[in-house]
């Protein structure tokens, strides 16, 4: 039995260290998010550029600089946020953690599952990714795992439904 030692720092993203096998989401999700950030930044820059061409003035340039800085910052956050996502399958429940600024950890028992969604947007599909979402009867329960390769997504879905089935209960 380990003694509690100060060396094990408790982190909001690492509960029960050593006992839960966290699985990361695919790093390709970073690219998806970066493309999203880039598209957003380019759109804003385009708008500002158009404004600059119509009415010359330094505020437009300042705005463009701000957008670039914001875009870089968001890119950094996106990279770290994807690394913060994680999920773990335990015997009876699914753990999902996410979030950088506000950190979330959800523990959703398989028995409480009402249905499972597997979704993939066009960008996600292009990178061979899918999102699995587990729904319970409580609206607040939010167990969403993005950035899974399709095989892993369908494996997770099948496992979730299989585990959920034999415990059917009115509610």
């Amino acid at each position: 039995m380990n003694e509690p030692s100060a060396s094990i720092a408790v982190d909001a993203l690492e509960p029960w260290p050593g006992t839960v096998a966290w699985r990361p989401v695919s790093p390709r999700l970073i690219v998806v998010h970066l493309i999203g950030v880039a598209a957003w930044t380019v759109a804003l820059l385009g708008g500002l550029l158009a404004g600059y061409l119509i009415v010359r003035g330094s505020p437009w340039l300042w705005g463009m600089a701000a957008v670039v800085v914001l875009g870089v910052w968001r890119a950094v956050v996106a990279v770290r946020a994807v690394r913060a996502w994680g999920y773990a399958e335990r015997d009876k429940d699914l753990l999902v953690r996410h979030g950088l600024v506000v950190r979330h950890l959800s523990i959703v028992p398989y028995a409480r599952m009402q249905y499972v969604d597997v979704t993939a947007g066009p960008l996600e599909r292009a990178f061979g990714l899918a999102t699995v979402q587990l729904h319970t009867a409580a609206a607040a329960s939010n167990a969403r795992v993005p950035g899974l390769p399709p095989d892993e997504a369908s494996r997770l879905r099948d496992r979730l439904t299989a585990l959920g089935e034999d415990r059917a209960e009115g509610l």
């Binding site: 029960w16 979330h104 523990i107 319970t136 329960s141």
Partner: protein, 506 residues
């Protein structure tokens, strides 16, 4: 066997139409009356009334219901047909409601609460009282058979009318309790303000007065609405909770105890001198709480004292005694987030329920039975991260969650873990009543929770991994195995004994 589809009572279109006409007349408002004059107004209303009546009659003709197997099927609609099947094992609660007109004509409306509906699904309006009651009994017995085959016979013992109620609100107390609300306190000021307005302006038009009164009624008459709604509140406890209340609109609601998702106890500020509190309970399917509305949660006790509350909570959540629920406050450093009233926050793991308390002025306590929990969440915001705190939520299908706010992070994980383990156990006990949880393989018995729950919240943010996380469901042996343990704590249960303190009880 497929039984024939039945129609609603032939008077239903009239009654429903009457409701719509009242709504329309109200929508036209005083303004229109003033503009078009009384005769035209009457004509407009009459014309609309005929139209509404015809539509209602068509709707009635095409509406029918019947029970097929373990489903209630409701067909309705002429142009857009809808044929809805409600699996009765999903039934959460059933209410027989009798608005004023229905009381006069001896009819009743049957409302079913089903999970997933944003509003009450499939109100059957209207049936005769006898039909409604009979249908309700039938639906509930079918539902009970589907859910718990271990408890047969629930169908037969319908709540006897002669049986004295478990709890009854004296109407005098109800009146006083509603006088002790902010709205009632402000009513004199509101009236005085209106009167001075008119005296100052010196204009006394009928429309002006009527509009002001109507506008004031919306806000200030809420206590009166509550009095009318909760009038003659009686609660019976048979196999199920049966609640009767209402003056103008009587309601008779049946909630099977295993459908109770949360119970909330509230001590309003103004009631404190009377030592009164009120209880609400949540049933899945009633969407999130809407403030001030009569939807949302159900009343378990509109007003009463602690002794009565204890009886009622014990009736709704068997084995729970609210006088003996221990909670502990968040660590002292959480006062940065709650400068006032930190000590009114608290959370605790009792035998069968997760307890959380909050509120400085209006104190609230939320009880979430482990067996009803849907998921557990830990959320840590940026400020909380600086302080090493986190909030634990126990989500239920009722829309409300138990919250252990701003706990020490280590403790939050321990709570979440305990919640998950206890919920698992409670579910196991529900699915197979009587059978003990499986024996723990291996080292599950080695849980030493006292190290996982440091007595002083300030002690280093560390945790022993193996002790904080029961690796297998068997380790729940530290939790009492039964679904409804009494408040007598099992000897091995660490959380209640070594850590959680008693609440300040009066």
């Amino acid at each position: 066997m497929v039984e024939a589809r039945q129609r609603l009572h032939p008077l239903s279109p009239l009654l429903k139409g009457a409701k719509s006409i009242a709504v329309i007349a109200a929508a036209l408002s005083w303004n229109t009356l003033g503009r078009v004059g009384a005769t035209d107004f009457a004509l407009i209303v009459l014309g609309l009334a005929v139209a509404v009546g015809i539509f209602s009659a068509i709707g009635w003709w095409n509406t029918g219901y019947h029970v097929v197997g373990r489903e209630l099927r409701i067909a309705e609609g002429l142009v857009w047909r809808r044929n809805r099947a409600i699996p009765l094992d999903r039934l959460q609660a059933v209410e027989v409601r009798r608005p004023l007109l229905a009381q006069i004509s001896g009819l009743a409306e049957l409302r079913l609460e089903v999970v997933g509906g944003s509003k009450t699904e499939a109100p059957l309006a209207f049936l005769t009282v006898r039909d409604a009651t009979a249908l309700r009994e039938r639906l509930l017995s079918l539902s009970a058979r589907a859910v718990s085959p271990a408890v047969p016979g629930t169908a037969t013992d319908a709540p006897a009318v002669a049986e004295p109620p478990l709890f009854q609100v004296r109407n005098r107390d109800l009146l006083i309790s509603q006088l002790l609300t902010p709205q009632a306190f402000f009513l004199p000021f509101g009236v005085a303000w209106v009167i001075t307005q008119f005296v100052m302006e010196g204009t006394w038009t009928f429309i002006g007065i009527a509009s002001t009164v109507t506008a004031m009624a919306g806000v200030l008459l809420q206590p009166i609405r509550r009095v009318l709604r909760d009038w003659d509140f009686r609660l019976f406890r048979g196999e199920r909770l049966v609640v009767n209340y209402g003056l103008l609109e009587t309601r008779n609601q049946v909630v099977p105890p295993h459908r109770v998702q949360t119970v909330r106890i509230t001590w309003p500020l103004l009631w404190r001198s009377k030592r009164w509190l009120h209880l609400t309970l949540d049933v899945a399917g009633m969407s999130g709480p809407e403030p001030g509305d009569d939807r949302g949660s159900d009343r378990l006790m509109p007003v009463g004292d602690l002794t009565q509350a204890r009886t009622l909570v014990a009736a709704a959540l068997p084995g729970v005694d609210i006088a003996g629920l221990a909670t502990s406050p968040p660590p002292l450093r959480a006062r940065w987030l709650h400068p006032f009233g930190l000590r009114f926050y608290g959370a605790g793991l009792a035998g069968a329920v997760f307890v959380s308390r909050s509120g400085r002025l209006t104190r609230e306590m939320t009880l979430v039975p482990y067996a009803r929990m849907q998921s557990v969440r830990i959320v840590q915001g940026p400020l909380q991260r600086r302080l090493g705190l986190a909030t634990v939520y126990a989500d239920t299908a009722g829309g409300r969650a138990g919250e252990a706010r701003d706990r020490d992070l280590t403790e939050a994980y321990a709570i979440a873990d305990q919640l998950a383990a206890r919920a698992r156990q409670a579910r196991a006990a529900l699915v197979s009543p009587g059978s003990a949880p499986p024996a723990s393989p291996g080292s599950a018995g080695t849980v030493t929770p006292s190290s996982a729950l440091p007595a002083s919240p300030g002690s280093a943010g560390t945790v022993t991994p193996s002790s904080a996380l029961p690796a297998s469901p068997g380790s729940a042996g530290t939790v009492s195995p039964g679904f409804v343990p009494s408040e007598a704590k099992p000897p091995g249960d660490p959380v209640d004994e070594t850590y959680w303190q008693r609440p300040e009880q009066s």
